[in-house]
């Protein structure tokens, strides 16, 4: 035994000697990256709009969100607490009335201090979210009847109780996109919870489930789009939607997704898990395709933004046997060969711009990187997000129409704006909550005053001045109240302050669609109108978040002046400048003055000077 310690030492030495001699890069054990690299939560606009301060919790996520790791062991679960019974959901209308009454009790003077206090109480926030969900449920009368029937069941009420008691969850559904077809979404979400308990407890799984139901319901994908048999279509619908959820949940559990996925919020999780399943009978988003993409098109984030990396297929207008890409025969004889694996089919059979772009975007989404496709004149491009910035790929033109958008607006700047709004999730939620409060107050029979409603919207916009949907709703409400010229002039100024110089297209859209049709009829003097336009162009520096259709904006503005102007021209917001052969604008008095004044302002601006000259001459845009 006297040799025992020495023997142990020797044994240790032997083990050390036997350990494989690896270079450092070979020796990594826990492969889950330790870095917290992600899309920055608040991006500074490159054109000079300073980034707002973020307190580090700006995404609105709980600290558990930031964790990574396997969910099988549920190390990422929320703390356990008493399960709400959801009894209040038994009578939805009564609940809605009660919430509205409770909300009103919080206010006497509706001062900002009262509002601040109200928004600090989490129970109030939950009430707002419930009310908003109920409002969305009532958008479709038949569906709401169905919802009222469903809450007769205790398990539905229990689910609703749990869902609405989890503020982050319910807000993650209602405030990250318009909650269309809410009854369908709620039914699906409840079904998901029944099949997978971790929907309630694991933040990433929760986001996946909420994203899937949110996108499928919002976009009206109710049925099994891969099934051609009408009966099976209806029958398989939810099953297939569940498959999409299961695919992403399993992918995350198996660590197949880029770690950036762990850092996403509800809104951008939607982009990924809501990737289009089928476009024109082509199945880029089938589970087979996405799975193949995970194994065969796995690239770092920058790879999906790089044409060199992502162009992995032959570009063919005609397939090898001579069928044109413009008819369904192109892929038809290759269906058995590749099944529903469109990514593989595109790589081997070939495709053109649409296929290239859907290939890139679907592969990125399959691997947990947000990407969207977009139309360009005669072309299809796509965009992926890299380090918090959206970058175009396979693009031939700035004139884009986003295939994925939240608020109906399709131009390129709106994608950057959406990023900007949700980059500071905390502020976004503050604005959306105030928006709900305004809606509650507006819905009450005994309104404090109509201006109160506007003041609450203004409070929301003070919290987040770039919040487009709140702006739009605020202006629509003001329109219904037939506000006066002073109001609209003030709104005009505030919109410019909020969006210019970073998002001139967004400002112009709000002005052209919501302000000018109300303000211009109140102005009887062309020079006053010109002053409005020059106020905008004075503040504009460059294209901001991206080239936009400024020619159509000039076209619109000039049509509102002098001869031929009137209510119709005020409402006729800009049409695509190149849609028909452009002609030089007329030169009557007011129009000439407009051209002179705006021309003087934009001539020195690099992005606009030459374009303005071309527009004046009616030169088609390139």
């Amino acid at each position: 035994m006297k040799y025992a310690p020495k023997f142990t030492t020797a044994l240790c030495a032997l083990f050390l000697a036997l350990a494989p001699c690896l270079p450092q890069t070979f020796a990594a054990d826990d492969a889950r990256p330790k870095t917290k690299q992600s899309a920055p939560k608040k991006t500074s606009d490159k054109k000079g709009v300073p980034a707002k301060k973020s307190d580090g919790k700006s995404s609105g996520k709980k600290s558990s969100d930031k964790k990574t790791g396997t969910s099988k062991k549920s190390d990422d679960k929320d703390e356990k607490k008493a399960v709400p019974t959801g009894g209040e959901w038994g009578d939805p209308l009564k609940l809605q009335r009660r919430i509205a009454q409770n909300v009103a009790k919080n206010f006497k003077t509706w001062s900002p201090a009262e509002l601040e206090k109200f928004f600090k109480d989490e129970d109030n926030l939950k009430d707002l979210a419930k009310w908003e969900l109920l409002r969305a449920l009532q958008e479709d009368e038949e569906e709401f009847k169905d919802f009222k029937m469903s809450v007769k069941k205790s398990n539905t009420r229990r689910f609703l109780g749990e869902f609405s008691d989890d503020l982050e969850w319910i807000e993650g559904y209602i405030y990250t996109a318009p909650p269309k077809n809410a009854n369908f979404a709620i039914k699906l979400l409840r079904a998901f919870v029944e099949k997978d308990e971790e929907v309630k407890t694991v933040p990433v799984i929760k986001k996946i489930a909420t994203g899937v139901v949110g996108e499928f319901s919002r976009r009206g994908w109710f049925e099994d789009e891969f099934e051609t048999d009408p009966e099976l279509k209806v029958k398989n619908g939810p099953t297939r939607i569940y498959k999409r959820f299961k695919f992403y949940a399993e992918s995350w559990r198996e660590k197949r997704l880029n770690p950036l996925f762990d850092e996403l919020d509800f809104w951008d999780t939607r982009i990924i898990v809501g990737v289009t399943g089928r476009t024109n009978n082509i199945y880029f988003g089938s589970e087979e395709s996405l799975r193949w993409g995970q194994d065969n098109v796995k690239l770092p984030e920058a790879g999906y933004a790089s044409p060199r990396d992502i162009f992995q297929m032959p570009y063919r207008l005609w397939n090898k046997v001579g069928d044109s890409v413009h008819n369904s025969d192109y892929y038809a004889p290759f269906m058995t060969w590749y099944g529903r694996n469109q990514l593989k089919r595109a790589r081997e059979v070939g495709c053109v711009c649409g296929g290239v772009s859907h290939y890139g975007a679907s592969a990125a989404c399959a691997n947990g990187i947000p990407a969207v496709t977009m139309g360009e004149p005669g072309h299809c491009a796509f965009a992926t997000r890299q380090k918090g910035k959206w970058r175009d790929n396979n693009s031939v033109s700035w004139d884009r129409s986003l295939h994925w958008r939240l608020w109906d607006e399709t131009s390129w700047q709106f994608l950057h704006l959406t990023q900007e709004i949700y980059a500071d999730n905390k502020l976004a939620m503050k604005a959306f909550r105030a928006g709900t409060l305004a809606r509650i107050v507006a819905s009450e029979k005994k309104k404090p005053t109509l201006d109160r409603v506007l003041e609450i919207y203004e409070y929301a916009l003070k919290e987040q001045p770039v919040n487009f949907p709140i702006w739009r709703e605020y202006l629509e409400f003001a329109q219904a109240q037939k506000k006066d010229k002073t109001f609209w002039k003030e709104a005009h100024k505030r919109i410019i302050d909020a969006y210019v110089p970073a998002f001139p297209d967004v400002a112009a859209t709000l002005l052209g669609k919501n302000v000018y049709p109300n303000l211009l009829p109140l102005i009887d003097n062309d020079d006053e109108k010109i002053a409005l336009y020059t106020a905008f162009w004075e503040k504009v520096n460059d294209f901001g978040a991206g080239r936009w259709d400024c020619e159509s904006q000039w076209e619109y503005e000039v049509r509102t002046l002098g001869d031929g102007s009137g209510a119709e021209s005020y409402k006729a917001f800009r049409k695509n400048y190149n849609a028909k052969e452009p002609v030089a604008p007329p030169n009557d008095g007011a129009k000439a003055r407009y051209k002179e004044k705006v021309g003087a302002l934009v001539s020195a601006k690099k992005d606009y000077g030459q374009n303005f000259e071309n527009w004046k001459k009616g030169t088609p845009r390139k």
Binding site: Y3, L14, P259, K320, G322
Partner: protein, 314 residues
Amino acid sequence: MIKKFLIAGLCLTLAGTTAFAAFSAKTFAAAKKRDAKDGILVYFYGPDWDVRSTKMLKTLWDNAEIKKACGDSAMLAIPVYQNPNEKQKKNAKTIREGMKIPHIFSYPAIVMCNNDGYTYYILQGDEIFEETPKVAETIKTKLKLFREQKALLKKAERAKGLEKAKLYGEAMLDGINPPEDALKILKANDPKGELPYTKRLEFDVFKLITEQTYKDPDKPDKALITPDAAVALVTKLAIEDQTTYLPWQRQELLAAAAGYLRRVDKTDARIKMLHKKILEIDPESGWADFVKDSEDLWISPEKKDKKDKRRRKK
């Protein structure tokens, strides 16, 4: 006693490391310097963004079976970072310095190249996610082809004219990339195209058949060949001549001709004849599926309808 034990341990360690001749290099330059008999195998992985490839660095790349399969090659791992810090950037750059990185479609990937850095195969995607023994088998197979290719090219060094072209052509082995500059060497040494290899290397179904069989709205004056001429052409290229083109190339030619006949007249009996030839070449290939789909869709669609009805009833 301890000394003996340690010596035994040391022997064991040495035995463990020298059982396979493949060796790990720290940089591409170092790997190149060793001038390994079986070239260089490079494992690309994403340490800060791809969990699987990082794990596989140990479970696959450091696996004894894989090392054994790598024969006498230099083994190297190159990290591809998503968000590297300066130190990582510098480190990765040092490791890959001098390597011409090929177009990798997916990570992880094993790039197999010769000592000059010319890639003869990239093992990636589905292939790399197979079970380790299967991956090892694939590496072995590719290495074997590489050795064969290398031996043929060595012989070709001393040869001239058609003999050189023949050796180069034989070195175009199915399963790995053709030798670097193969086309240039073939054209220089077989200028009349007496051997089939230049044709195989330049094979393009579009140039041979497809381009003459579809209507291009942008080129209304483009002349198409007649169906009879298409059949005559494909008979010559892919039926009578079974040696110039590889089996899959012949299948493509036949499919292109069949596609044309189908667009002109679905009832043309020669379509079935061409389909039959495709199946005869390889009934298990993807082109066999193409035949099935084409027949179901256009040639005998009524059969497909019946099948669909049966499926729905089930």
